[in-house]
């Protein structure tokens, strides 16, 4: 069963082609990787899936619904969550509130009820609080609950971003270079974590990453981008041997 279908999508910035005619199918409960040299358009693909950019061509289907025209927040509500290449936590909210923001769209109370803080608001806020603490605990972040994200080590911030995507209970998770800036030990634990949460929450995951070991180990399918075009698609062992991929990464000498 496919959960996400990207149908020959293109995006241009001025005259520059960021993504050209890109297609992919994401199956349910699978972990897929997107790799490619710097500037190949990997993050742009994420921005197109999540609605940060509107696409110039092509269509995107999520759970068999056409979401090409949906605004970004609607796509989140539909079940797409993401992390960011350069961490984007809300620096004026503490760790707990950063978690709560991500499930605000699930709240059932109205603005009017919120204004005068009816019991229903208090009740739901308590539920959200429990839920946020639950997910913090799940990723071992409980000790940081009341801190501001800027004061936390880099690896912890990355993990908090991950926790923040989970609280929205997504169906599709997009991880943008989750291993960037992590030391080798942290990368190993990240791999374990991704596998674990994929199984625990029945997630479909797409990972953009430069860290080849991570990609090769946990992805069942890999797409390779170069200059906005897909140059290869296949299982990790095939990608490793692919001439075009080696060429793109290493140049002629490779």
């Amino acid at each position: 069963m496919s959960i996400l279908k990207i149908d020959s999508v293109s995006k241009y910035f001025g005259g520059v082609a960021a993504v050209v005619d890109f297609s992919m199918i994401q199956d349910e409960n699978e972990i897929t990787g997107i790799i490619g040299p710097n500037g190949a358009g990997k993050t742009t693909v994420f921005n197109l899936i999540t609605g940060v950019y509107s696409m110039d061509n092509g269509r995107i289907f999520f759970m068999n619904k056409d979401i090409t025209e949906s605004p970004a927040h609607k796509r989140t509500e539909a079940g797409i969550s993401r992390t960011f290449q350069n961490i984007r936590l809300f620096k004026n909210l503490n760790v707990l509130d950063n978690m709560k923001v991500a499930c605000g769209w699930k709240v059932r109370y109205s603005l009017w009820e919120e204004m005068i803080r009816l019991p229903r608001v208090i009740r739901e806020e308590r539920e959200i609080d429990e839920k946020a603490r639950h997910f913090l605990e799940y990723l071992g972040l409980t000790q940081y609950t009341d801190q501001k994200p800027n004061n936390l080590p880099y690896g912890i911030q990355r993990r908090l971003e991950l926790a923040r995507t989970l609280i929205a209970e997504p169906k599709l998770l997009l991880l943008d270079e989750p291993a960037a800036g992590l030391n080798p030990r942290e990368v190993v634990s990240l791999m374990g974590m991704i596998n674990k949460l994929q199984q625990d929450y029945k997630l479909s995951i797409i990972i953009v990453e430069h860290h080849m070991e991570l990609i090769m180990k946990i992805c069942s399918l890999i797409h390779v981008l170069d200059f906005g075009k897909k140059i290869a698609e296949g299982k990790p062992e095939d990608i490793k041997k692919n001439e075009l991929v080696l060429h793109a990464y290493l140049g002629d000498e490779g």
Partner: protein, 283 residues
């Protein structure tokens, strides 16, 4: 008597500052047109009461509704713009309100202003209003709405990835803010008893923003304290005239350098929190 007057004026301005706090403090939207909304509130209430003989409570409600509706109408085209353009356009709109009030002299009295309102608003009503508005703002601040505001202020793109409709959120903020500001204007008209188009120009709007910053972007208590100090100080030291603003300028510079989060940072003066703090320090 003098002190009572000072307290009244200070409290009136505090309502205006609270309106701006939601917008500029919590959501990071800068508007130099809030003075326009004060005038709109003041004139709407005064005209409704004086020219159309509506009862005072109705006039008050009309001022609030007018503020909210105009906030909505102005928000439609402007809130999608980048924040710097929003600032410039609201500046223009505020000045337009001033020009319109001057021009529509049959209704507004033009440059002569409007006088002769009965004194319907005393200190009790102003203080109750402050308490009520503070309660609403604080309720909003500590639930979804407030979190969304801060998220939008910190990072709009990330906020939209959290399922927040950024445009709608800004719209709600702008409407509530404008309604509060217009309400403050209406109270002003029926307490000071004289209004004229030049009372609330963009400088006044700018001052409201600066006080919000000095008090602390994340603290309603801080903003109230900063506003109380500034406006009561201003009344006591009227004789030093322009030096008031020089002094404010110095304070602003000091705050920005030494306490960028504002005087109160994120602290809220809540009885519960204070008791906890005292207890912790004793241990």
């Amino acid at each position: 008597m003098f002190y009572l007057k000072v307290l009244e004026i200070t409290s009136l301005y505090t309502i205006l500052v609270l309106g701006v706090y939601l917008m500029t403090g919590l959501t990071g939207l800068f508007s130099l047109g809030q003075g326009g909304f004060v005038s709109i509130g003041a004139y709407t209430a005064a005209i409704a009461f004086m020219k159309f003989n509506l009862p005072f409570p109705v006039a008050l409600i009309m001022a609030v509704v007018m503020g909210a509706v105009l906030g909505f109408l102005i928000g439609i085209p402007t809130l999608r713009l980048r924040r710097d353009y929003f600032l410039l356009i609201t500046f223009g709109l505020g000045e337009m309100v001033r020009a319109a009030l001057l021009y529509l002299s049959q209704l507004t009295g033009g440059a002569l202003g409007m006088a002769g309102m009965p004194r319907m608003v005393g200190l009790p009503l102003i203080l109750i209003s402050i308490i009520f508005i503070t309660f609403i703002l604080y309720s909003l601040k500590r639930s979804r709405f407030g979190r969304n505001c801060v998220a939008v202020r910190d990072d709009e793109m990330a906020a939209s990835m959290m399922g927040i409709n950024v445009y709608a959120q800004k719209m709600k903020v702008f409407i509530i803010s404008s309604a509060i500001t217009a309400y403050g204007g209406a109270l002003y008209a029926f307490n000071i008893l004289f209004i004229e188009p030049n009372l609330f120009n963009w400088l006044e709007s700018g001052r409201l923003i600066i006080i919000t910053f000095v008090g602390g972007l994340n603290s309603i208590a801080g903003v109230i304290v900063a506003s109380a100090i500034y406006y009561s100080f201003g009344e006591f030291f009227r004789f030093i005239d322009v030096w008031r603003d020089v002094l404010l300028g110095v304070v602003v510079i000091l705050v920005v350098i030494f306490r960028p989060g504002g005087l109160f940072q994120g602290l809220e003066l809540l009885p519960k929190k204070l008791i906890e703090k005292v207890k912790r320090e004793r241990l």
